[in-house]
Amino acid sequence: MEVIIIGIAKSAIRLATPYLYASIGETIGQLSGVLNLGVDGVMLMGAFSAFYTVLKTGNLILGLLVAIVVGAIFGLLIAFINVTLRAEQGISGIGVYIFGLGLSSLLFRTMVGTVQAVSGFPPLFIPLLSNIPIVGEIFFRQNILVYGAFALIPISWFILNKTPLGLSIRAVGQHPEAADSLGVNIVRIRYLTVIFGGMLSGVAGASLSIALLNVFQQNLTNGMGFIAVALVYFGAWRPLSVLTGALLFSTVNAIQIWVQVKGINIPSDFTLMLPYIVTIVVLAAMAKRYVRPPKALNKPFERGE
């Protein structure tokens, strides 16, 4: 029994990784007032570009960097559409998603063709800590992208709450006119958060293709990017609560995988549904909380209106 629980816990920590990167990126973007529904598409592009780089060069760091750059380019595109062209954000995000899905599939078919594995980031044992019984096994024998994802929580919290930049981000998402009247550059802040969010989405994708699964196939993410957006609402735009949501979701997922692997006699269709059902139920239950999205979310800014 103990072994089972440790196994599930360890895999839950691992599985939270892509959600954490994507959700934290999305949280920061939304706090500045930009809704990006294209996260899943950017993740797919990040996953493919990292996978392809590693497949060709074997260089994991290079693969990660390429995913970040691809994510940044997509972030720039999203910022241009939403901030400069002032598009309807819900719709443009779906466009970006379909674009990312299609392009990554196309590139995969023409440049790779068949599903093949790469060797991803190996587990990195943290000295001393990894020797603690149980806790060491669960938390400190993971790969570097897992540690990075968890480090992102305090880092993003700190940036948002303790730096002038974070203050500007929060103000721009709540009351851009007020921020503008004090000389905060709304466009610059929003470009910054959206590009940063794109980079994190790229990393989220890379964490799947070169750290957790170490393969790429069409639609590898299978809608994870959308769950990441849901987690932002679940977490009420607070990094720590986003972490809670990501862990809840990844734990259900880990149980689901364990049930399948063990061949326990529950139809796999049902177990596969489980994480999504949990998401819907929890989000519906949380709907009654008194938390509101940033006031200017999804609202393009124009001075003097």
Binding site: T163, P164, L167, S168, A171, Q174, H175, L182, G304
Partner: protein, 530 residues
Amino acid sequence: MPIQSSYLHSDMKRDTSKITNLTRVEKVEMRGIVKQFPGVLANDRIDFDVHAGEVHTLLGENGAGKSTLMKILYGIYHQDKGEIYVNGKLVNIRSPLDAIRLGIGMVHQHFMLVPTLTVAENVALGLHSSRKFLLDLDIVSERIKELAKVHGLYVDPGAKVWQLSVGEQQRVEILKILYRGASLLILDEPTAVLTPQEVEELFHVLRSMLNRGYSIIFISHKLHEVLSLSDRVTILRDGKVVKSLPIVGVNKEKLACLMVGREVLFQVEHPSVKLGKVSLALEGIWVQGDENLPALRGIDLEVYSGEILGIAGVSGNGQRELAEVIAGLRKPTKGRVFIKGTEVTNWSPSQLLEYGLSYIPEERMRDGTIQKFTVEENLILKDHIHQPYADGIFMNFKNIARESERRISDFDIRTPSRYTSLKSLSGGNIQKLILARELSRNPGVLLAAQPTRGLDVSATEYVHRQLIEQRTKLKTATLLISDDLDEILSLADRIAVIYEGKIMGVVKRNEVSVGELGMMMGGVHKDKIK
């Protein structure tokens, strides 16, 4: 004369921000300012200037061009023609940041504060931190306290802005610009949302700032305030300067006449009416507010046919919820509502409409009209599904056209045509449109929430006349909810004062003094006065 040297010195020592180290604004001159908007010449060769130590008031009706002129000075708009000189030097102000750097600060009519942030965070927003990449909110808070002490603008730097009263929020706005070293303050209708006591406090603060060498541009159309605060006044009409004159020897009537271009009646005639039956009654109404706390706590009210009952009180004491519960937009948790003797508790808004309730909502843009619709469409909303505007499932455009043309002329709605989109109308004309729609329905009960908020003198005068006429001729029972005590005093037959969701007492208008009303507005029950 140095501007409160204590904080400027401490500023230099700490070097918290590059932009607070400003020379004082001795003189600002705007020359020949022209600003054209699509279809409107908002500013037509306007000259305006202000010196250190004086209050120069900009007076004018809505749409006269006051706000445009000030938004040009503050860098929100850019003039098409004309120059701005600060201390004799030609300047080019392209953004609010440019204005701030020149020592110009603006308190906007709609506060520019982020409600979810604290006072200190609102002040620190957009400034360089003394700790570079780390926020220095503790230092900012200290300096806010210093500034607050110097100017008498007390406020807790750690409080979230949404928790503050309107008066406190305004103090934060002023602190915000003082913190940036502004020595010219532009105040855009700063008293619109304040109680009489808060207005006095604000004026006290402003006068002491004048003595320290600050200059103030004051935008208002409350004439007694203009007279009490200004040194000079410039009157704008239709984008042009009508007159610029020192305040000495000027009276209210003269200012109003210059502003409107004709004589204005300040006192509405108030003929007596024989009261009918109770048309609207509330019995022990309890309601939850948006923050999930009770906003109304056991309200009992009766409004008779042929009277105007005024609800007086400082804004935020349950007035909005009261209007919403009567209009059917908010469900009471306890209590009952009656219209013409029939219980209507929990009826839907459309059922209430059918039963003879008309509603002039507080947010005329959000709740009273649909901005993207035309004037005509807005005029027949609410009745558009009935004869004569609809035959079965089809609209009867002939009748709609005839009726809307009639209303446009009867209610003097200034619009290029009935096809004009509502959003290009001025606030006063939008309110006339709402009145036209609501009063044409011949309501038994009229619920009027802040019916003249933000309107200019002529439009206010018009709305007041309509309300009195409706009461006198058609014996409509009117519940008038207003933050403007002057309005309540000039219109209401009886006055109920609301405080924290409770009625502090109901009094006849001619049997109460302003002082007594003020005490009730501050939470003293009628029975405890004297």
